[in-house]
Symmetry: D2
Subunit: 286 residues, 4 copies
């Protein structure tokens, strides 16, 4: 397409819409991960951070990782992407055990969202937890999804589970505990969102198995090709990315709603209007 | 729902989302028409204005109404909502002829959009003209939709039809003519959008007609009840409202895209960030 | 993907879903046009047929083409795809006039649907005419859409416009006239659907034009490359295809609704259950 | 609306579409539960059955309920809707403990789908497990969702987790185990679907709690009104209904696809064409 604006061709309107012509170039300069980082470095400072919290029998205990402070550096300090060094070693050992056996193991990934705006999504038809659940359940090998207190929350009573409100030193309404996982009634409340995902072991194993063909003949199969001993660390950026995609959509919707048609800004807390320009940059995960 | 924020109830998040609790009250204070007017009075100043351009055989000639200046006052100065006083009288006379006969007549409504942002909608799957077409074709009694040069444009050649670009005194890229109707390649270009809609005469007539029942029996029917001699003036706010609904959605999407993730603001012209608060007010169509 | 069904891989479920693995092969064997023809040759016998009804000033008069009998053979008997031989010659002559000038002309395409099932689509939010309108308005170069009596219907009175019902010799409820264009209240009534589409002349012309660049510099452009003197005959299969896509979706929805959950088959007329297998075949437009 | 078909009114097309006029009457005669039962009694015989599998600390062990044979009668034989009489008593006792305390407890519901057709939903964008996850996560008080081997499956290795295929005595391809939960690669494989849902305890408790008002004042609240000691049995029909809604949509889509446009019926197993008429009946849950 020409950088000339030819009469009655859409050269001009494409520029007005996208500010760029070459989709190819755009994708090269703006990988999804960059979107994620830019998202994080916006004035809102929303961060989407995932880490490996389980490899087979090695389960990171609840509370060992501080969600207020856990950083990308801590997570990326080891090959299994677990922010706790001691448990990271145990996980690496667990993978080593099965590495040569061709018998893969599964595990779990925890994903948190810090500094998300309040008011994202809606109370009945498209709850934020339902959208996040669908997004995450769309990744391969997932068998379960929980957020906030999750399955463990079923062992609490109402008194133990309720998150009491208070007004913090900045005059913002907060909850003292966060069993709601940052979402109440389908809408974000500004607390840290946390969710946990179960990955089954992958299906390609190094062992003869009985299979059936399309023609219903039974035969034996010994799979060749790559075997992943544990996909957890590789699933992690997928979880981060799909959670960020859900949130970016809602961030844009929220910005449109609250900045163009605000009703009660004292309650709604519109996003800061000083979001930085989304510039291509050399930010890549190590 | 309480104005107290009960623990682990969504009282707080509803406020964070909507800034208001009583949906009923909200609807009373914010009629769709008010949305339309507020939309117009935003700093962007987008205006959606419709007028009756045809009643049966009385057709307002193209160009008689100046789309740069036509105002709500002109349109509302007579009962048929036609901004040209001479044609308004002819239209009223045409309706008078059929008023007592119980033989309704149809006509046409023209709708324009002034000061819409550039860059609304997309080039392939959900073109702005396609969305507007679907929206307008969803109103009752519509048999046709055209925008820009419309059906009449088929009688022009390419040389006659092309809209040449120029740079205006404010440094903005404009077109000298506007046969594109403010939309090129599915995306708004900032020129005035104009579209025209055909209304059939309504089906309820004061005359015996042969009908069939559900049981396939033929019988005669003489309809009773209200007869509209001409629905054009009453269709007009429906056309305005549905066009505004399409545009408000796109305005919010554009605001989210260009203000949160701008790529090239020189080309994209992000909306002004000083949109006024959307306050309930006593603005009603006379 | 293997024709073996490997344990816990989705080989088997893909076959259960699609009955085929190679998407590439599928697309080669099943061009959209074939879908269209298969659609026509089903036991329902729904046919989607488009023809050129206008080239610039040459306008096929209403009623000259008999929609009950017009055939693909008649349409394909000449290069402009107009079923009336006399008007086809006039259209070819009109194109010849501009062919060497590099000044393209537009026109109109009429599309009819014969033997569509009754009951397609819904009365309020996704009317059949609204869906067809959006689909057709998504094609390039379209400036207008009308169906049934269309813009011309605005010159009729209610008495002239109404379609009276009767019961035909097969006991089916029909209308004597068809100004509704086969759709009433958003839902198909089994009569022939007819719609007409306006194409503007294409924008690429062989003449120097003033243009503006992205940097807002004014300059002259003389376009090189292909010039279409008239795109009408080439738009025709696009109109047919997009109308068929809308209808195939609704045909499947209708089949699911009326055959799985019938309420009153006497009124609803479920589709025949003896639809033929959708086999790849060598049917191609000449 | 008249049972007469008035000219150019949509009386006739509404009947052709719906076979019924009175939406009110329709809803009365066809409660959602009836849809569910009719769904079950179709020739396909798809059954959606949910039961309470956890009340607070009382957790029904995996495998205690036989999903091949568990029946509605077994589930409805006690007030907590648990098909195992011994565990039902324990659950009732657990609820009795908290009934008068005003300190509610949560738990879990298991839902299975028997005899669903093969081939429902799609491999990438709208996987069946993702749709079911979103649907179920839209119910109130849900904190987690798992299907097939679920979170427990993360403790297995690939060899332990894989479901081997075989051809059964009817020549149908089956899996010997069902850790996939009836869904592989986003598509149903005809085995029993099973999913489990975590319900948090409800938030209304009989105890003074610190709350915050909209004006950010801290105060004490003692909730009055109804207190549910345990919502599990009442959530159960909601889980059944929303799972059935997802499946009915896909059943209709599958019927449209495979019966109208079959590609390879040997692999796809089109639904039987002899689905019974969906008649209102007096089937109600006891």
């Amino acid at each position: 397409m020409s950088i000339a604006y030819r009469p009655s061709h859409p050269d001009a309107t494409y520029d007005m819409k996208y500010g760029i012509r070459s989709v190819q170039k755009q994708l090269e300069e703006w990988p999804l991960e960059l979107l994620l980082r830019k998202f994080s470095s916006s004035s809102q400072g929303t961060e989407v951070i995932a880490y490996v919290s389980q490899v087979h029998q090695v389960v990171l205990p609840d509370g060992l990782v501080d969600h207020d402070t856990v950083s990308l550096d801590q997570i990326e300090s080891n090959i299994v992407m677990c922010p706790d060094p001691e448990y990271a070693e145990k996980m690496i050992a667990a993978i080593d055990v099965v590495r040569t056996r061709g018998d893969p193991i599964g595990g779990g990934v925890t994903c948190i969202v810090r500094n998300a705006p309040r008011g994202l999504r809606s109370p009945v038809f498209d709850k934020l937890e339902a959208d996040l659940g669908k997004a995450v359940m769309s990744l391969p090998a997932i068998k379960g999804f929980e957020f906030g207190s999750g399955f463990a929350g079923t062992f609490l009573t109402g008194r133990e589970h309720n998150d009491e409100f208070y007004t913090d030193e900045h005059g913002r309404i907060r909850t003292r505990t966060n069993r709601s996982g940052g979402i109440q009634g389908g809408i974000s409340n500004g607390e840290i969102m946390n969710m946990r995902v179960a990955f089954k072991p992958t299906a390609t194993i190094s062992k003869k198995q009985l299979i059936v063909t399309r023609e219903k003949k039974e035969m034996e199969l010994l799979a060749s090709g790559r075997h992943d001993p544990c996909v957890d660390p590789r699933e992690l950026p997928m979880v981060e990315a799909i959670v960020a995609l859900v949130l970016v959509d809602q961030l844009m919707a929220q910005h449109g709603q609250c900045n163009l048609f605000p009703i009660n800004p004292d309650l709604q807390e519109p996003l800061g209007s000083n979001f930085p320009k989304f510039e291509p940059a050399n930010i890549h995960r190590k």
